[in-house]
Symmetry: D2
Subunit: 346 residues, 4 copies
């Protein structure tokens, strides 16, 4: 039996998943989100549970998700678990009467996406959002608002990229088989950005290509470390995507939206900070090393927006389950295009 | 009788002054500084007290400073009061056995500076720091660390500016007579930056000049709305300063440090965010409108560092009272140079 | 009968075509290319002939191309004529024993391209180059040399765009039917840049999409005012292209080459000059209004390189006829992809 | 007896001085200045004369200046000789009835400046200009025109610097004793820029300071390798100058003009070209290595403007002798301030 939350009461959150990104979410929820209480945590890893207990002072720490989902003293679940678990855990959370935030992707399987959407549709009073955090980055948000204000006329083209600094150890290669491939793993962010900035149009056709620049191990699962794609939308809007695992200079995830009266770029130079270094090599800035430094603020604002939405019953501004399904649907088509060398109709 | 704080216990802070900047500090202390509790507040203004009570839920709210200083349940005082009160309030805090953070300047009066330094010297177990927040801005900090690491060789020249967006109403003109003039009010930040980046050398000579570009009302008190200065230090290092009240594009407070093997600029383009706008006027970025947007993060890190220092008994990295006295001493000499048209020896 | 040119003698050039771009070429050849003499010109337009005679003091001015090609006192022809005439005029020039420079494209027709290549192949002592001027832009050249020096490791992806400022009158719409469409008219530059930076690989597959953002008149001939494309090359290299007729901020033609150890961008912000304007809208630079301001220096260096090559019998570094045929071949495939919505194998 | 030049006839120029910069001027005059003929050259160095004769095909080459000045087939002299010779050579040129262009400075001696001005004043039909080439740099020119158009309101502050890349050999140290010191050698460019952008106001007071960062040999002649200065003008305008011989990243000579409604920077990042390099150190551009790469175009336009002015009898837009005298006068005061540590009234 779910306890009732008054508007003034803090939102009691239970987090599942305390890996690298999960810990960042947990720290935000525990310390930096007004109106939130990190009341419970769950991880199959003993060290992670100890960290939650000792460092964050989380009162209830579970080894399995079912216990977390059943916790009657929680208003919301926060899922930072492996992608393959997302759909069933979201459904479990919703059935337990809890609001749910889940890291992207919703699911790599479209039928699963639909099932989750149906479950959520039956519970419209519950927040259910997927963590496309760029929507909460202040610069992306500024661009979104300028587009909405008509600054660039009618937007018709988005170019967007997710580009990670090369990991010489190729750690990610081991996870590639379960990741869905570079487009479903990386480009979903760009797909969501494109749809968000273009007014959420429906995709009609995609094409994709890719290459293995450095990580030969990817060939075994048909994946690439650099991929490009084009997406056409109803009404004529277009998007171009680039995803890379092999950047030398850092995480360089940036976007551009072009309209009939102007254009906006967001983060085109991924400056680490405001310092410029003048030396014999020229004038340079350093770059954000990973997506986390680049989007640290976005992750925090995302959490604050979710909690505020739970308290107000309002729209958090985050990606809906339907948005996430579209990202998966388009990403799948891109994967198919890469595999077949053919344009794929949607 | 002061209660004892165990290392693990939160630092109980009482803030004095809830004007525009004071409220920002209060919000940080109340919500964003791990290990701190905003336990009391003090303002002569009823609305400000109500805000502290209702919005921040501060438990004890006083109308006069004496009551705050006497509060036995406080470990530290946080002063965001008018400059003329700083010295006596710091002394009162120290005498009450409390750590003290005080917004800049320490005092416009050198004898007062010395008196405060003497009082603090007698209580070395108490933290006493002046709020030169640029030291905590991540970009300034990065530059400081690069200098310390020898990246630019031996630093010998700092150029630094504090430049506010023009306020067409000239609101600040009313406060100019008590501000000490543009150098003591604005350039003290740049003086502190210069000394900090150059290894805290002693100034030996200054020259300054100024002009009234827009605000004729400043002439009555001998002040200017744009001022420039040169400062020479022992050992040959130099600094150039610029202070302005009349920028069109925003708050443009930036610095540069030049060494024998390279140079660093910090914040030379005061970008508001990562967006670039392409339209018929060209390609542009917007700028931070006020010092607060520019240094919001610095104010927060500054508070976190102070609280950590109180808990650890360590150095916060902030400006000492002696640093603040030097800024005042140099600022005074610049004011004299402006008034007389002569170089002033220190 | 062709007169013999000694290495020391100036190269006597006859230009055909004195439209907007033709006049720029003519001025360069007449005034700024050491070792060149603009000895003849040809235009069907009386005013243009008068301009050549009076302003440039060209000694022999013809109304028809045959007279120019037959002029025995010329060493080289310089063709800035309509695209549809290029192939036959190049052949005529070669048959008359003259070196030939021709503005891009070689031809929109692949069979014609092959015919010209065969004619040139029979006369290896004659220079024959197509004007892909970006190869001579100092910044593109610098990038090319850095790639050649291994600075970025193995290059595997080029992104390149040709983007014109919008002409509200849509003047170009009238010429669209004969232009071959946006890819053959604009993207050929980017195709050539991509092949040049990637080591001249053979294209294997392309996909393209496009939209009409502003100029509805283009629909009649199946053209678009904004187009995007992906090109795959043998060996795994990739290229992404963007062509636009509707930019608000100016001509924004820039490129990027990504390698296994770094990346280079060329002209990503199309700054008109070194001025930055600080005002209430932010900090901005103005942009090059048209391709001519952007590539003015490239056009000049291109002419100087051609003339030097004629004198030395060396390689000018410009695009060969085979390079130009590849650009046409790829551009055609992109047009087909746009028309059919299918990926096109080459 | 001077021959008469008709407006249509080319300007016959004799150059004196074929050192590094002299050769650049000679090449421009010989090859790139419409309406000019490099008809004679003069150098005491045999190799330089041979170069003029063989490479530039200069018809008359002299070993001594008197022969050049006496050449009746010259309309103008172009002086790129040692500074100490400028004044007497300008006078000789004027007395021989020739227009004269002279590299900066006019003279390090104020009385000499006055004498030259008097001689020129008696021959108002002759062009006499000093080579402050920044006035002809397209970006400086653009800034000047924006200021003139009122874009930034009333300009009241110029910041300008001349900063050379460090020469580890300290070659310039040998020439320092005759250079007049860093301010008369380097900052005269900035002084001229400041006066030009501010409407040619009269300086009233200066202060200067300096340091030896690297080149200890400068101490022997009282010079420094880094100097800073402030200049006050009638009417309240101000200027700040910085001169350096020790930059790590290249020649970084840039300026800024601040007005009541905005500000302009010119060349703040001394980009060598449009390439940006992304690698493990960040994102960087390379810098112009010396003043010549930075101002190559300015030197050419300067020559073209002078020749056009000679042909038209119009104003070239270059610095007048009076402008050059002001630069010397202010530079002298800065040197005195550096030597004495006192502000100097003018």
């Amino acid at each position: 039996m779910q306890t009732v939350t008054s508007p003034a009461a803090p939102v009691r959150i239970g987090i599942a998943g305390l890996g690298r990104l999960g810990r960042r979410h947990a720290e935000n929820l525990a310390r930096r989100v007004p109106g939130a209480v990190l009341a419970a945590a769950c991880s199959p890893v003993a060290e992670e549970r100890a960290w939650a207990r000792e460092t964050l002072k989380v009162p209830r720490v579970h080894a399995d998700f079912a216990a977390l989902a059943a916790d009657p003293e929680l208003d919301a679940l926060w899922l930072v678990t492996p992608s393959a678990l997302h759909a069933e855990q979201i459904v479990a959370a919703l059935r337990a009467g809890k609001h749910v935030f889940c890291e992207k992707p919703l699911s790599l399987d479209l039928a699963e996406c639909e099932r989750v959407i149906a479950e959520a549709g039956a519970r419209p009073h519950l927040q259910a959002t997927i963590g496309f955090m760029r929507r909460f980055d202040p610069s992306y948000r500024d661009a979104f608002e300028r587009v909405a204000a008509g600054t660039i006329g009618r937007p018709f083209l988005v170019r967007s990229q997710t580009a990670d600094r090369n990991d010489p150890d190729g750690f990610f290669v081991r996870f590639a088989p379960g990741s869905g491939g570079i487009f479903l793993d990386c480009s979903v962010h760009d797909i969501d950005v494109a749809r968000w900035l273009l007014g959420r149009p429906r995709a009609t056709r995609v094409f994709a290509a890719g290459t293995v620049a450095l990580h030969e191990g990817l060939r075994a699962c048909g994946d690439v470390d650099n991929g490009v794609a084009i997406c056409e939308f109803e009404g004529g809007a277009l998007a171009m995507f680039y995803a890379s695992r092999t950047m030398a200079h850092g995480n360089d995830s940036h976007s551009e939206v072009i309209g009939t009266a102007g254009a906006l770029t967001i983060g085109r130079n991924p400056r680490a900070n405001r310092v410029e270094i003048h030396d014999a090599t020229g004038i340079r800035n350093t770059c954000t090393p990973t997506f986390f430094e680049r989007f640290e603020e976005a992750f925090l604002i995302e959490a604050q927006a979710f909690v505020a939405a739970v308290r107000d019953g309002a729209d958090s501004g985050g990606a809906t389950l339907a948005d996430a399904r579209e990202a998966t649907r388009i990403g799948h088509a891109m994967r198919e295009a890469l595999a077949t060398g053919r344009a794929v109709e949607l």
